[in-house]
Amino acid sequence: MIRLENVSKVYPTSTRPALDDVSVEVERGEFVFLIGPSGSGKSTLLRLLLREDLPTGGSVWVANWNVGRLARRRVPRLRQRMGCVFQDFRLLANKTVAENVAFALEVIGKPRHTIRTVVPEVLDMVNLAGKADRMPAELSGGEAQRVAIARAFVNRPLVLLADEPTGNLDPETSTGIMTLLERINRTGTTVLMATHDRQIVDSMRRRVVELSSGKLARDDDRGVYGVVR
């Protein structure tokens, strides 16, 4: 589902590469944690997958797209098949909860009657059925993140990318978010989650890919945050 072949990324303003010859493969339906300290290249890797940046070397594959070679006008198609969730939620501030979720469907041209049935279903799944008409500013952090997850999941993406989705949340709320991501993973969606959260990684016991200074440091099948000896 995701394949990185000898991927490097050097930002023009920096001498040290953000990613240095990284090769990783993620199968369909896997749940993978991407860990490493700040500046280790986690966000860069996610940006390359979303085609927000281009790799300086190697190739990035998502499903059957060679992301680095994708024509600009085909980028929206790629993103429509991927869901993404961020630490800062990135909701549209002037739209209600339901409109935020509906937006992901409008963008891919889903008919209105489909939107009207699918959006409540997804909001129900993330336990926000009662808050469909709230504005993002009226939500707690956990609620806002659940809206973001609903938006990312609503058009059944192939891959869900999550960049520190629990970074702004307390442990209890984080657990709720993780439960949600696990449920989504069980539907067959590949999940790739970048995180600092040791507790979450240790409790889930999923595959762990660790980056260190842009290099692949570790790839454990059922790993924990710290190295097991």
Binding site: P76, Q80, C84, L92, F103, R151
Partner: protein, 298 residues
């Protein structure tokens, strides 16, 4: 599609003062353009009106004019034959001294000037209707000084002043329209940039969710088009008001009555109005498109 319109409306409301400035400038520019178009139309009509009446008059000298009721002297027949053979000439009519005097009496009936004029002071004339009224000067040049000719007058030159006045009205309005149009274009371009800047986070999120460039940018284009069309409608309204409250009174007044044909309501609503709407929409769209291409990279 509904989404796109909603976004455009929100955008216009967000920068309300800017939107108003943009619409007013656009309206003034288009209004001036419209006034120019109406001036062109009026000039054309006035020219039609006058050119059907005016002619080149070849006045005959005293000996030739005297006692010749039907252009039978050899000098007169020669002149007439030469004129009729000329490719520029459509037709030639002879007006004898007596006929000229009779017409003079008719025109100035009851006025004191009649007492002063004798038939002897009026020449017989050959009235030449031109194929192309604009080329009267060539006849003047060819026939001035020929035997039997007193002088040759191109009547067009007497109305030339009127046309040059109308022409400069047209040029001035077009000039002002261009200057205003530049201001309107810059305002539209600037407002779109501002609008795009205030919404850059929003647009960024939309792009991440998979919105196409087209989808995120069409609302800005619609904002521009709405401005152009609303501006055009206001401009047309302004022209109607100008016609009713100013031009109609001016042209029906003593000074200019029957000199310049009046401008009809169909000229404003049926011709200039639609032209302004199309011009406004097209120019606003083009400006919006170019601005988005050049300045808004999301």
């Amino acid at each position: 599609m509904l989404f796109v319109w909603r976004e455009a409306l929100v955008g216009l409301r967000r920068n309300l003062t800017m939107t108003i400035a943009m619409i007013i400038t656009t309206a003034i520019s288009l209004g001036l353009l419209g006034a120019g178009l109406l001036a062109v139309r009026t000039i054309d009509r006035t020219e039609d009106l006058y050119y059907s009446l005016i002619a080149v008059q070849v006045a005959l000298d005293e000996p030739t004019s005297a006692d010749d009721p039907d252009c039978s002297t050899p000098v007169c027949t020669d002149l007439r034959r030469d004129l009729e053979a000329n490719p520029l000439v459509a037709s030639v009519e002879y007006e004898s001294r007596d006929a000229a005097f009779a017409r003079f009496q008719r025109i100035y009936a009851g006025q004191s000037i009649l007492q002063l004029v004798r038939p002897q002071s009026l020449p017989a004339t050959l009235r030449v209707t031109m194929n192309d009224p604009l080329r009267g000067a060539e006849i003047v040049a060819q026939f001035t000084g020929k035997p039997g000719v007193r002088n040759v007058v191109d009547q067009r030159s007497t109305v030339a002043d009127l046309f040059s006045f109308l022409g400069s009205v047209r040029n001035v309005t077009f000039g002002l329209a261009v200057v205003q149009a530049v201001a309107a274009l810059l305002l539209i371009s600037n407002t779109i940039q501002l609008s795009a800047f205030t919404r850059r986070t929003e647009v960024g999120i939309m792009r991440l969710v998979g919105a196409t460039r087209w989808y995120t940018q069409v609302p800005f284009l619609i904002e521009a088009i709405v401005t152009g069309v609303v501006g055009a409608v206001l401009a047309t309204g302004g022209l109607v008001a100008g016609k009713v409250f100013f031009l109609d009174r001016l042209l029906s007044g003593r000074l200019l009555a029957n000199t310049i044909p009046p401008i009809g309501m169909t000229d404003v609503l049926g011709y200039v109005g639609p032209v302004l709407v199309v011009v406004g929409a097209v120019i606003a769209t083009a400006t919006g498109y170019v601005t988005l291409r050049l300045y808004v990279r999301t």
